[in-house]
C-alpha cells in the first residue's frame, strides 16, 4: 500500500470513501479528516528559493510559481506538477481560496493568481474559483464550494500566539470573537462545522517574509520580518502550522540570543490535532521533505 502525499494510505482512503465523497466529486483525500490521524505520519514540504524575493522583499511571481509546483508535486509524489494538481482538485470542484488580507503581511497577490491559474489548469471552471478572506460567508463560490485551498503568511499574533493556517478559517464563522477564548484554543472547532468540514485539499503556509515578533499597536514592525523565502505545503494543516511554529521559535532564539517562547503559547495548533482531530503536531509524526535553498533553514 503506497502512501499518498497526505500520509493517507490507499486502504484508509477506501475506508473513508463515503465521507470523502460528500466533499469531493472525485473522492480526493481531505486534510482534517480522521483518516489522516489513522496513518503514521503527515507529510509537509518545505521549499525555499532565495530568488523568490527581489532586493526589496517583493515577490518574483515566476519563482514563486515554480516553488509552489515543486512543493505540490513532492507532496503528491508526482513528477509532473500538472498531474499533482489534478489529484488535488477535479473539474467538477468549486474551489474557494481562503487568503488573508492583513494589511501589514497579506497573502501575496501573485500567489493568489498562481493558485487560480493552477486550479483552472487542473480543469476547474474559471467561474468556480474565487479567492477571498473577510467575505467568505457571503461569497457565492465559497457558499457552494466543494473544495478549499488555505493560504496565508505565518506571523506572531497578540492573542493566539501565531496567525496560523488553523486560525485562517476564523472568517468562516459570523462571530469570530467567540473563538478567542483562552488564546483562541477552540479554533479547530471551526474546521468541523458543516460548511467547512472535510473540504480542505491544500494548506500553504507562506514563509517568504514571516513575522517572528510583534510590537506596536498593530503587532507589526518591519524589524521583525526576515526573508526566509519559503513555503510550507501540506494537506495536514496542523503539521504545517507546527512546522512553521518551530521555525519561528528558532528564529526568535537566534535573534534574541536566548529562549523566547512564542507568547501566548499558540496552543490552538496542538489542540487542533488532539482535540479536533485535524492532524498531527509532534515532530516525530511529521515527515518533512526539504526542497531548494537550505541555508539557515532553522529546522
Amino acid at each position: 500500500v503506497r502512501s499518498t502525499g497526505s500520509g493517507i494510505s490507499r486502504r484508509d482512503f477506501l475506508k473513508t470513501g463515503a465521507r470523502i465523497a460528500l466533499g469531493s466529486v472525485a473522492g480526493l483525500a481531505l486534510a482534517g479528516s480522521s483518516s489522516a490521524a489513522a496513518a503514521g505520519k503527515s507529510r509537509v514540504v518545505l521549499i525555499r528559493d532565495r530568488e523568490v524575493l527581489d532586493g526589496q522583499d517583493r515577490i518574483r511571481p515566476a519563482a514563486l510559481g515554480e516553488m509552489l509546483d515543486g512543493a505540490v508535486a513532492a507532496l503528491m509524489d508526482e513528477r509532473d506538477p500538472a498531474s499533482a494538481w489534478k489529484r488535488i482538485v477535479s473539474p467538477g470542484d468549486v474551489v474557494g481560496i481562503k487568503t488573508n488580507v492583513w494589511h501589514y503581511l497579506p497573502t501575496p497577490e501573485p500567489l493568489n493568481a498562481i493558485l487560480r491559474e493552477r486550479l483552472i489548469g487542473a480543469g476547474v471552471k474559471r467561474e468556480n474559483v474565487s479567492a477571498d478572506d473577510r467575505g467568505v460567508l457571503d461569497n457565492p463560490v465559497f457558499r457552494r464550494s466543494t473544495a478549499l485551498v488555505n493560504v496565508r503568511p505565518m506571523r506572531t499574533h497578540h492573542w493566539a500566539g501565531l496567525g496560523s493556517l488553523i486560525k485562517n478559517y476564523i472568517m468562516f464563522v459570523p462571530n469570530p470573537s467567540s473563538y478567542h477564548a483562552n488564546a483562541c484554543e477552540p479554533l479547530g472547532a471551526i474546521w468541523n462545522l458543516p460548511h467547512v468540514r472535510g473540504k480542505t485539499r491544500l494548506n500553504i503556509l507562506v514563509m517568504t517574509t514571516p513575522l517572528f515578533h510583534g510590537t506596536g499597536p498593530h503587532h507589526y514592525s518591519p524589524r521583525y520580518v526576515w526573508p526566509y523565502c519559503g513555503l510550507i505545503v501540506s494537506q495536514d494543516p496542523v503539521a504545517a502550522d507546527a512546522t512553521g511554529a518551530r521555525i519561528i521559535e528558532a528564529k526568535r532564539r537566534v535573534h534574541f540570543g536566548e529562549d523566547r517562547p512564542i507568547r501566548p503559547n499558540p496552543r490552538h495548533i496542538v489542540l487542533a490535532g488532539s482535540r479536533y482531530g485535524l492532524g498531527r503536531s509532534r515532530p516525530e509524526e511529521i515527515e518533512i521533505i526539504r526542497l531548494g535553498w537550505n541555508e539557515d533553514s532553522l529546522i
Binding site: 492583513w102 497578540h158 493566539a160 470573537s177 483562552n182 510590537t215 498593530h218 503587532h219 507568547r263 501566548p264
Partner: protein, 302 residues
C-alpha cells in the same frame, strides 16, 4: 444654601445627560481630544476624516491585537493617518481605556523602547512612540523610521499630551510592590490570564482564576545580582484568593506551600503566600531567602 446646591447639582447632571449619552460623558472624549491635535505636523498632513471604533468594530481595525485592548476594557479608539510625499505614513491611535489604571495597563503590555519625555512613562523605539495620560493610551506609529516621521511623531505626541486634561493615577496595587531592586520597566499590570501568559508561562489553564475583576501586577527584581519575579494578584474577596493559591500549589512540587518556598530542578525558587484578598507568588527566584523576603515585603507574610 442646601436647596441652592441641590438645584445646581441637578442642573449640572441634567446638562451632562442631555448633551452626552455615555457614562464617561462629563469627561473629555476622543473627538474633542483629537480636535486639539494639529492636522499638520512637520510637513505631514492628516489624510481624510478620523476613523473611530468601538468595542465591536475595533476588530475591523486591529486584526490580531484587538483582544489585548478589550482585555483592558477599551471603550473606544480614534485613528488618524498622516502622510507626505517621500515620507512613511504616521498612524495616530488614541485609545479611551475608561480608567487611568487600564490606560497604564495597556501601556505596560509592551515596554520595549527607550524613555521619551512625553506623557506618563513615554517610550520610543522602532518608529513607535507611546504613552498614557489620564484614561488615554496614545500610540503614534511610523510605518518606516525617518527623521521627518520622527519629528512629526514627537510634535503630535506633545500636542496630545498638552490636550489631555486629566493626569490619572497608577493602579493602587503597585504600592504593594517592594521598592528595593524593583526593575521599573518590568512592571506589567493586567487582568487576563492570556495577557499574563504573554509575559510569563505559569500554566496552560487559568489556574489563578484571573478575570476582569482581578488586578494583577508582575514585576522583576534584582538584588545584589540575584534575580526574581514577583506576581501580585488582588481578588474581590479572600476566599477567591485562597482558592487560587490552593489551585496554584496543586500544580507545584511538594513543599511549595512552605514560607521559604521550594527549589525547582533548575535551581530556581518559587514561593507563594496569601493575606486577605492579596495573593503573592515569587517565581524564578535565584535564592530562597530572596523569595521569602519578597513575600514578606509584599505584606503577605508576617
Amino acid at each position: 444654601v442646601n436647596r441652592f446646591r441641590l438645584i445646581v447639582l441637578l442642573s449640572l447632571t441634567a446638562g451632562c445627560l442631555s448633551l452626552f449619552p455615555s457614562r464617561e460623558s462629563c469627561a473629555q472624549d476622543l473627538k474633542s481630544l483629537a480636535a486639539a491635535v494639529p492636522r499638520l505636523a512637520a510637513g505631514l498632513a492628516a489624510e481624510g476624516p478620523d476613523a473611530t471604533y468601538d468595542r465591536k468594530t475595533i476588530f475591523d481595525y486591529i486584526d490580531g491585537g484587538a483582544e489585548v485592548y478589550l482585555a483592558y476594557d477599551m471603550r473606544g479608539c480614534l485613528s488618524r493617518r498622516y502622510a507626505a510625499p517621500g515620507e512613511p505614513a504616521v498612524v495616530l491611535d488614541l485609545f479611551d481605556m475608561g480608567t487611568s489604571a487600564d490606560a497604564f495597563g495597556v501601556f505596560t503590555h509592551d515596554r520595549e523602547g527607550d524613555p521619551l519625555d512625553v506623557g506618563e512613562d513615554g517610550l520610543s523605539g522602532a518608529g513607535w512612540i507611546r504613552f498614557w495620560k489620564g484614561r488615554f493610551f496614545v500610540s503614534i506609529y511610523a510605518e518606516r523610521e525617518t527623521a521627518g516621521a520622527r519629528e512629526a511623531s514627537i510634535r503630535l505626541a506633545r500636542a496630545i499630551e498638552a490636550g489631555i486634561e486629566e493626569k490619572g493615577e497608577r493602579p493602587k496595587i503597585l504600592g504593594r510592590l517592594p521598592k528595593e531592586g524593583l526593575q521599573r520597566q518590568s512592571v506589567r499590570y493586567l487582568h487576563s490570564h492570556i495577557l499574563l501568559d504573554s509575559h510569563i508561562r505559569l500554566s496552560e489553564e487559568n489556574v489563578l482564576g484571573l478575570g476582569p475583576d482581578t488586578e494583577v501586577v508582575l514585576s522583576s527584581y534584582v538584588r545584589k545580582g540575584i534575580r526574581a519575579r514577583l506576581l501580585l494578584v488582588s481578588y474581590p474577596d479572600a476566599a477567591r484568593a485562597a482558592a487560587a493559591r490552593n489551585r496554584y500549589l496543586s500544580l507545584r512540587p511538594a513543599g511549595g506551600d512552605s514560607k521559604k518556598g521550594v527549589a525547582s530542578e533548575e535551581g530556581k525558587w518559587s514561593a507563594s503566600a496569601q493575606a486577605g484578598r492579596l495573593l503573592a507568588v515569587v517565581l524564578d527566584a535565584e535564592s530562597g531567602p530572596l523569595a521569602e523576603a519578597l513575600l514578606k515585603e509584599a505584606e503577605t507574610l508576617p
